[in-house]
């Protein structure tokens, strides 16, 4: 198990918070809460070791499409594929709303 931290430029914090997913096999749990304006912080606790670069690239790809809101995100990962991670994050963004 490894704990990783990431930071990305962001917009304004949203009002709401959201929880999606579950720490089940091949899945992950994502907690999204309002952060500090301009910054998105992510902490990942993952069962898969040595994947810092893969997480970094995945987040970069997701956030380059659109500037994310300012969030504090906690991820508890139980071996999710990049596709599942992206899906869960999109679900989370959807739930808190983008405005």
């Amino acid at each position: 198990m490894e704990t990783l931290s990431f930071e990305f430029p962001a917009g304004q914090p949203p009002k709401g918070r959201a929880l999606v997913g579950c720490v089940g096999s091949g899945d992950l749990e994502v907690l999204l809460e309002p952060g500090t304006a301009g910054t998105l912080t992510i902490q990942v606790q993952t069962s898969v070791n040595g994947a810092q670069q893969r997480w970094q690239h995945l987040f970069e790809r997701i956030f380059q499409e659109q500037t994310p809101p300012a969030l504090k995100i906690d991820i508890h990962d139980f071996g999710a594929t990049p596709g599942v991670v992206r899906l869960r994050l999109e679900q989370g963004f959807e739930e808190i709303g983008h405005d």
């Binding site: 198990m1 720490v23 089940g24 749990e29 907690l31 606790q45 069962s47 508890h76 990962d77």
Partner: protein, 280 residues
Amino acid sequence: MTDLLTKHSFVELGARQRAKALLDVGTYRELIDPFQRVMSPWLSRQGVVPQADDGVVIAKGSIAGLPVVVAAIEGNFQGGSLGEVGGAKIAGALELAGEDNRNGIPTRAVLLLETGGVRLQEANLGLAAIADIHAAIVDLRQYQPVIGVVAGSVGCFGGMSIAAGLCSYLVVTREARLGLNGPQVIEQEAGLEEYDSRDRPFIWSLTGGEQRFNSGLADRYVADDVVQIQQTVSALLQQGAPEQPRSRRADFYLARLAELDTAAQIEPATVSALYQGERP
């Protein structure tokens, strides 16, 4: 419309959605929600990723207007196993429901059981928490019905199957399994001849929801359907406590077991006939 179009699976719902589905609309209020991050103090240090709610959802609300606390176990996290935090959440909620009743508030409880029992990474603390849960069910049951639901797909095993056995009423589906010992453990302890953990039809025939209902070891057999489960739980809550909970029928069960020929290995039909009498 056909059933296929109108049914919504309860089994496919997560613990939080299940609790919401049972409570009257707009009354759901979660206690120690996941954003409070009261997580297992034991998993991370063993290299196991924790979950923010430790796999247990406690929600207060009402069902048919009656005050209820729901405890729902998330079967997808660590097999629904109970550790210190999740176990204390259930025990503590039941203890407070008992206290409510002593203070004139008729809080009832519903337990959504998807669990392998004790979480082995927290072994003795899980076992202690389960003893606390047993104690609290027996206490609360003096005042109000405690309803257990085993919907599936994990089933209900280990010390929590004993908790199921303590409930005033037990609701099961076809997807449910209920037993003290997990198939793997029985095979490990007793051998393949006694119990083949890979023989799924054999295991379902002995411990599946339908068989448990037919043997009188569960009170309601329902479809995997949100509305049907909600209505069944609601009706049982309104019905009040049973005259004699199953766990107080020692004389009956000892008399039945005395009649059994234990020389031969057992068949499912033998159990239902022994406990329920021959059926036409």
